[in-house]
């Protein structure tokens, strides 16, 4: 986990430096008082210092100081499936509307735990129920196709 901490710190540092540099273009002070760049400059300046301290703290940390570990086998597969299913959903929605991508998303998550002949129908029925409850009953906007599903 030590390496992950250092990499995380480095990413935060890189973003903070980028935002810090961008802050200069917004104007530090105007004739009324602090400009649009005043607060971002101080905040991202502080963030640069804190990210650096975090990296130093992580480098100094003993190898086994954290109880956290990366997930293995089944848990890792579930986590990857969760993120993967969300990405698949986002890519398919513009083409297919809501119900089919949602059913595919839920199927990907359920297939690890249940037989396919249970997972796929359950995912499809759940997607239709979500459409009915959230769109028809609660009046929320869903990314439906031209057939309204």
């Amino acid at each position: 986990m030590k390496r992950t901490k250092i990499v995380t710190g480095a990413v935060i540092l890189a973003v903070a430096v980028l935002f810090f540099i961008m802050s200069f273009s917004y104007g530090y002070y105007n004739r009324f008082g602090p400009g649009s760049g005043f607060f971002p400059l101080w905040i991202n300046g502080g963030l640069i210092i804190l990210a650096t301290l975090f990296i130093i703290e992580s480098i100094r940390e003993k190898p086994n100081a954290s109880a956290e570990t990366w997930p293995k086998s089944k848990a890792l597969a579930n986590i990857v499936a969760t993120i993967g299913s969300l990405v698949v959903f986002s890519l398919l929605v513009p083409l297919l509307g809501f119900v089919v991508p949602c059913a595919i998303m839920l199927s990907i998550m359920l297939i690890f735990h249940y037989k396919w002949y249970f997972a796929i129908p359950a995912a499809l029925i759940s997607s239709i129920l979500i459409l009915i409850v959230f769109q028809s009953l609660l009046g929320l906007r869903l990314p439906v196709n031209q057939f309204n599903w």
Binding site: P40, G46, F54, E57, N78, C102
Partner: protein, 501 residues
């Protein structure tokens, strides 16, 4: 007297039409959230916030507040019956609650917790009724200088109290502030850090970020901890023995007072309330060795304290418009989403709303007492819901919620990225609570600071010439200094990793 009359009007609002139904739905969902391990009040409120888009402000906030205080009741059930805290504030209840369950006294542990929770929760709402209006009137005299100072104090307390490292707490807070600045500058109208992306013109959406950081990341963490279900202990007699009433009521009284005062302090949280209550009970007990083996005070005190805390935490929100914990920050977001600004003017501009919510909290506590005393075993069965069904449901609700914020898949993308970031931050011990609080307060902090600097003609030191802002900022500086000193001396206790989540 004025408060009593207003409260009666509030009861008329809370009991009218659909409001009472939304109150019951809120506390029921809160109970469920408290019971289901891995699903805390912050996650639940963030997930359900978009569903309230179509509701009026009063029923929406009545329901969301019900989830918050309802979850404090629910967390007890799993702590006592299966030794798994449903939410972070019930961790200490496991010590003696589960020990009591193993002795065949699960019913008594749940009964005492329900009575304590009811007393703590109700006293806190009475406090809100009595203290709220005068405090709001006092806060009406505050300028941007005072509000900025109080926000800084809240963040200093939070960074000082949460997590192993002050650096990581501050890092999290500064990340929240930095991403809050994305979008249009409210003072000048200039676009900042948008990279020409039209979806970023209005900034990142709080609801979407919260759903990702808490909902999606919680699913990912939950998959790691997924395990088999534990058989439920039998529940019988719900009330303590005659000789146990005196120590029980003493613990409830102390828990109520402790939780209430901690609720008023920006940066404290329900976990601190329950942990401190447990320590106090153990310290003043004639025989501390009983603790951990089924001491009734070890259940009564902490359970009372966390409920008293959650009621009292509404006071700074209602009177000053300052959220003091992550869950209250999400409620703050709910107010904003419904076009309301929490703060001292709310008591005057929207008395129906304020008193309706306060009255609903009295009703909600009564409903929760009924839910908990005779229906404990029924709720316990919910712990048997498998993660393989619960987590896909959370993901599906998150997707629907994120999309409905602005009808754009861009928000779903932001939620996915927030989820991955939240997961990594949990892995590397960066607490999420400061990030959420600063994100929700970022623009307000910037505008109050800018207004103050204009007033002070650019001299920051003049903050210390005003009695309230000067004192509050001085306390904030002391809190940060003491936090660093405690780290250097190695005396820093980890009260909670990432609380209320």
């Amino acid at each position: 007297m004025e408060s009593i009359a207003n409260l009666l009007n509030g009861f008329a609002t809370a009991l009218s039409g659909w409001n009472i139904l939304y109150c019951v739905i809120g506390v029921t969902v809160g109970m469920l959230v408290g019971i289901l391990p891995g699903l805390g009040p912050v996650t639940a409120i963030a997930l359900l916030l978009p569903i309230t888009f179509t509701l009026d402000a009063i029923p929406a906030i009545i329901m969301l507040a019900g989830i918050y205080y309802g979850s404090m009741y629910g967390g007890t059930v799993t702590s006592v019956l299966i030794n798994v805290p449903g939410e972070a504030a019930s961790v200490v209840t496991c010590f003696d609650g589960y020990a009591m369950a193993k002795q065949g006294r699960a019913g008594t542990a749940l009964g005492v917790a329900a009575i304590g929770s009811f007393i703590g929760g109700t006293v806190a709402v009475i406090g809100l009724t009595l203290i709220g209006p005068p405090l709001a009137r006092f806060a009406l005299g505050f300028g941007p200088q005072e509000f900025f100072a109080i926000m800084v104090l809240g963040l200093a307390m939070l960074m000082g109290l949460i997590g192993k490292s002050v650096i990581r707490g501050m890092l999290s807070a500064f990340i929240g502030l930095s991403i809050a600045l994305i979008g249009m500058d409210p003072m000048t109208g200039l676009l900042r850090f948008t990279f020409n992306e039209p979806n970023l013109m209005e900034g990142l959406d709080f609801v979407v970020i919260a759903m990702g950081l808490f909902g999606i990341s919680e699913v990912m963490v939950g998959y790691e901890a997924a395990g088999s279900s534990v058989p439920i202990t039998r529940i019988s007699k719900l009330f303590p023995e005659r000789h146990e009433w005196k120590p029980t009521m003493g613990a409830i009284g102390r828990g109520t007072i402790l939780g209430f005062f901690l609720g008023l302090i920006p940066g404290a949280n329900a976990v601190i309330a329950s942990v401190l209550s447990y320590s106090i009970e153990k310290k003043i007990a004639k025989d501390p060795s009983r603790f951990g083996k089924g001491a009734i005070e070890g259940v009564a005190g902490p359970e009372t304290a966390n409920n008293s805390f959650s009621g009292a935490a509404m006071i700074p929100l209602f009177t000053m418009g300052i959220p003091t914990s992550p869950t209250v920050a999400i409620l703050f977001g709910a107010f904003i989403m419904h076009g309301l600004t929490p703060g001292p003017a709310l008591f005057q501009s929207n008395p129906d709303l304020v008193w309706g919510i306060i009255a609903s909290m009295y009703i909600g506590n009564v409903v929760l007492l009924i839910f908990n005393l005779p229906m404990a075993r029924l709720w316990a069965k919910i712990t048997q819901v498998p993660e393989s069904i619960m987590y896909p449901a959370i993901v599906a609700i998150s997707v629907v919620g994120a999309y409905s914020v602005s009808g754009s898949l861009f928000q779903v993308g932001v939620m996915i990225i927030s989820g991955i970031v939240g997961y990594i931050f949990k892995k590397v011990d960066i607490p999420l609570a400061p990030l959420v609080l600063t994100f929700v307060l970022g623009k307000l902090m910037e505008s109050t600071l800018a207004q103050s600097m204009i007033y002070f003609e650019g001299n920051f030191l003049l903050f210390f010439t005003r009695p309230i802002s000067g004192t509050v900022l001085a306390i904030a500086i002391l809190v940060i200094v003491f936090s660093f000193v405690s780290v250097i001396k190695g005396k820093r206790d980890r009260l909670a990793s990432d609380t209320e989540i």
